[in-house]
């Protein structure tokens, strides 16, 4: 209290002395008055596994890495590309060679300049089998020249298609044309890492006492399983525009426990537990927020020989697809502003044109009637079919599985046996195809329809339920080299709506409680790539 008063007194004193307003007290763009304390405290459900840009694979780690490090490009609040360490880039005519120009005022937190060599090092490090990164598949996704051979250990990482032409010019060579390549440079595995710190400290280099980073914040404290603190980096090239001084992440695994602590004022942001959004938004209309996310919740159907024979008939799969009443799930169970899904790709995806989907425009009664007709046409009585529905342990997955099985029972007479498994056991059962229908959730790694539809390729590692369609494979291959592949994606969704290998249920919403003084949260960024340096607290 006394220190605040002293501060207030001294600022009054300095105003009268200088006879000019304190510039630091208002936001440079919005002119909004800023709060005295700029500390953002948020909840994470789990401890991050790593904040090494090339090793991290979880969402929590990604949030840290975007604050601590900076890649070639960043995203703005709507997900558009904006300069990061690179000021601009050029591509050759067929989008196979990209040249990035790096700014000359970017520095590491130890004062060294950030150069193109740092990027060359980190990309090679990502693909290098000796790094053994669980995220190295991203290097393959980037399609760098020789990436497959390097990852398999058949070629030296120095042969990878990335090269620093000088300190501020990075040349990237791709095996195939890829128009969306620059988008990938906003993903954390492509961020630079400091070779000298890694050489000096080995895997300990990400500890607060050793870490060297080039982002707007530096890691100052990390108590595993409890909290981590990042603080403003004075050497960051754009430091004068950073407003938040300090960002604290508290590990709280229980949703309801986190909500209680939010309500007690200990947190500025937390997830809303399933089904509580309506009540919270009535009580705290300025704090409960919901916005679209680039994620799909769906059931996928086993189409290998291990499956129930009826599921090999597309009419049966369509009947299952039609009888899931998505409005009941989004409005009665989830209640967080989620979107009923009839296509795999969310409508919020950039440049995605949803196909004409007859099912979407029908009433549920019509869908149910058509489903019964289809089942009869396929020659199956509902009571002859018993399906295993596999899902991993979670209250929300359980509720959805129960209500869907009830819908199938009532409308089609199909019996569903619910199989609840702990996560790793679930993954094992899924990859062994020990199920008829399985639950899945998928968040697109970048904002393009291909980040969803690639999963439908017959060779994708995630497609382990035996679905394969030649037309889709061709459309996906063709899309990779096209300047505007959106037609291909629309067509793929049309094919999916005749084959029904999956049953999309809903598209996610980000549902949060957020301090009503916190400004600039990028609700329009469907990938939820947020950067603390853009956030601030307004004064009361």
């Amino acid at each position: 209290m006394t220190s605040k008063r002293a501060l207030a007194l001294s600022s009054v004193f300095s105003i009268s002395l200088l006879a000019s307003p304190l510039i630091a007290d208002v936001h440079p763009v919005t002119n909004e008055e800023l709060a005295d304390e700029q500390v953002f405290t948020y909840r994470v459900g789990d401890e991050f596994a790593s904040i090494d840009p090339q090793l991290a694979e979880d969402v929590q780690g990604g949030e840290f890495i975007r604050d601590l490090f900076e890649g070639l490009m960043n995203q703005d609040s709507d997900g558009n590309l904006v300069p990061g360490v690179a000021t601009h880039f050029e591509a050759n005519a067929d989008n196979t060679v990209y040249t990035f120009q790096l700014r000359d005022n970017a520095k590491w937190s130890d004062g060294k300049p950030v150069t193109a060599h740092d990027f060359e090092y980190s990309w090679k490090r990502l693909a290098d089998p000796n790094t053994a990164s669980p995220y190295s598949w991203f290097a393959k996704e980037m399609g760098l020249v020789n990436v497959k051979a390097v990852m398999a250990g058949d070629m030296d990482p120095s042969e990878l298609g990335v090269k620093a032409l000088d300190d501020h010019t990075l040349e990237v060579r791709l095996e195939n044309s890829m128009g969306h390549f620059p988008l990938m440079t906003t993903s954390e595995p492509t961020f630079p890492s400091p070779k000298w710190a890694i050489d000096a400290h080995g895997s300990d280099w990400t500890k607060p006492e050793n870490i060297v980073s080039n982002g707007a914040y530096v890691l100052t404290e990390h108590v595993p399983q409890e909290r981590s603190v990042r603080e403003r980096n004075p050497l960051y090239w754009n430091n004068q525009n950073t407003i938040l001084e300090r960002v604290e992440a508290l590990v709280i695994s229980d949703d309801n426990g986190a909500l209680t602590r939010y309500l007690a004022g200990e947190l500025d942001r937390t997830e809303v537990p399933t089904g509580q959004y309506n009540a919270l938004s009535k009580e705290h209309p300025d704090e409960a927020v919901s916005f679209p996310r680039l994620c799909a919740y769906y059931y996928f159907i086993n189409m290998t020989e291990n499956t129930h024979p009826s599921l090999l008939d597309p009419r049966v799969r369509e009947a299952l697809y039609l009888t899931v009443d998505r409005d009941v799930i989004t409005n009665a169970i989830l209640q967080g502003g989620e979107f009923p899904a009839y296509t795999f790709t969310p409508d919020a995806t950039a440049n995605f044109v949803s196909p004409n989907n007859p099912a979407r425009d029908m009433t549920q009664a019509d869908r149910d009637a058509r489903a019964s007709a289809l089942l009869a046409e396929a020659g199956f009585g509902g009571d002859e079919i018993e399906l295993d529905l596999l899902y991993n342990t979670s209250e929300a997955h359980k509720k959805i599985a129960i209500i869907v099985s009830q819908m199938w029972k009532q409308k089609l007479g199909i019996t569903t046996v619910l199989q609840n498994m702990e996560w790793k056991t679930f993954l094992e059962a899924r990859s062994n195809q020990e199920f008829d229908i399985g639950r899945a959730g998928w968040c697109g790694p970048y904002n393009l329809a291909s980040s969803f539809l690639d999963l439908m390729s017959s060779t994708h590692v995630y497609n382990d339920a035996g679905f394969s369609n030649d037309e889709i494979d061709e459309l996906l291959d063709d899309a990779k080299t096209k300047a505007d592949p959106s037609e291909n994606f629309t067509r793929i969704e049309e094919v999916l709506a005749t084959e029904f290998p999956i049953i999309p249920i809903y598209h996610y919403a980000g549902v949060f409680m957020m301090n009503d003084k916190l400004r600039n949260w990028p609700v329009g960024n469907v990938e939820q790539k947020w950067y603390s340096r853009e956030l601030y607290f307004a004064a009361d």
Partner: protein, 307 residues
């Protein structure tokens, strides 16, 4: 006595070996592995990672290397999940936290539990007895996963006195609720054991003799009754102490103290083999140690037992 202790410590070696082998096999028989994930890794990437952590060696060789590492260098290996930490670091960070609030909770449980039990036994069938038994049953039926949210609701949300979680280097405000939530049900058990054991002793012949000699109630309790009545309590306290300083999973998770219980559960869910093994061995050693201490205390209290 010394010979007894040495013998017990030597017997601990095969016990621990069996524990290690058994846990190792059990762990590897669980479906999935540390690197199975939602987005399955391409086979060549998985092979690289498994080679790095020597998971591609045959199981007996893995166990052998592990035991050699532990015995010769006290090295429990790196965590598979947390890339920049070793098992030693995880235990060194989490165990002091759990040890601190676990020990305080233990002292609270023992002091309050014994006081309640003694009060109840000395005033059998009076209102004090019913009151003490009532409290202890109340505490028993409120398991810590119910206690924890109730405490947070009252002290954090309604009263605003205490932070709802965290540890903050062990400041007392952060310890109050974990200690209360952890100690209550143990306190209740101690109270009930203490009460029934003291009642039995108070009705035995040597106490009747002491009374007949005209000793004061105070002298009878402290000089004659309490010592034998403590025996069942002490045999309960040995394993209880180990549970309290290592296994308070609910407390760790709910109050996010960063303690060892949380690390243990996460390691099981993540199949973080090395962390799981490290904590299992820690708990094994502590259990052996405190059982030994209980045996020594027994010999000291009970003249019938000679070591």
């Amino acid at each position: 006595m010394t010979e007894f202790i040495i013998r017990r410590l030597l017997a601990a070696i095969p016990t621990l070996l069996i524990l290690i082998i058994f846990s190792f096999l059990l762990m590897h028989s669980a479906p999935g592995g540390p690197f199975s994930s939602d987005r399955p890794l391409p086979p060549e990437v998985l092979a690289n990672i498994e080679a790095k952590y020597h998971l591609d060696d045959p199981l007996p060789l893995q166990i052998w290397n592990y035991v050699v590492g532990v015995v010769t260098q006290f090295d429990f290996g790196p965590s598979f999940q947390y890339k920049d930490r070793t098992v030693n670091e995880i235990i060194a960070q989490g165990f002091p936290v759990t040890l601190t609030y676990g020990t305080i909770a233990f002292v609270v449980a023992v002091v309050c539990g014994c006081a309640l039990g003694i009060t109840a036994a000395l005033n059998q069938n009076s209102w004090l007895d019913y009151f003490a038994v009532g409290i202890s049953i109340g505490a028993q039926v409120l398991p810590n996963f119910v206690m924890a949210p109730i405490l947070v609701l009252i002290f954090t949300l309604w009263l605003g006195w205490l932070p709802g979680g965290g540890w903050n280097g062990g400041q007392w405000q952060y310890m109050v609720m974990p200690v209360i939530a952890l100690s209550t049900s143990f306190m209740a058990s101690i109270a009930r054991i203490m009460r029934s054991s003291l009642l039995e002793v108070m009705h035995s012949n040597f106490i009747r003799t002491a009374r007949a000699k005209g000793l004061s109630a105070r002298a009878i309790l402290f000089q004659h009754a309490l010592k034998p009545a403590m025996l069942p309590v002490i045999s309960y306290l040995g394993p209880t102490f180990v549970i309290m300083i290592t296994g308070s999973v609910v407390i760790d998770l709910y109050f996010t103290t960063g303690g060892i219980g949380q690390a243990f559960v996460n390691s099981a869910l993540n199949r973080d083999y090395s962390v799981m093994m490290g904590i299992t061995i820690l708990i094994g050693c502590l259990t052996i140690l405190f059982n030994l201490i209980v045996d020594i205390l027994y010999a000291w209290i009970d003249p019938k037992i000679k070591l």
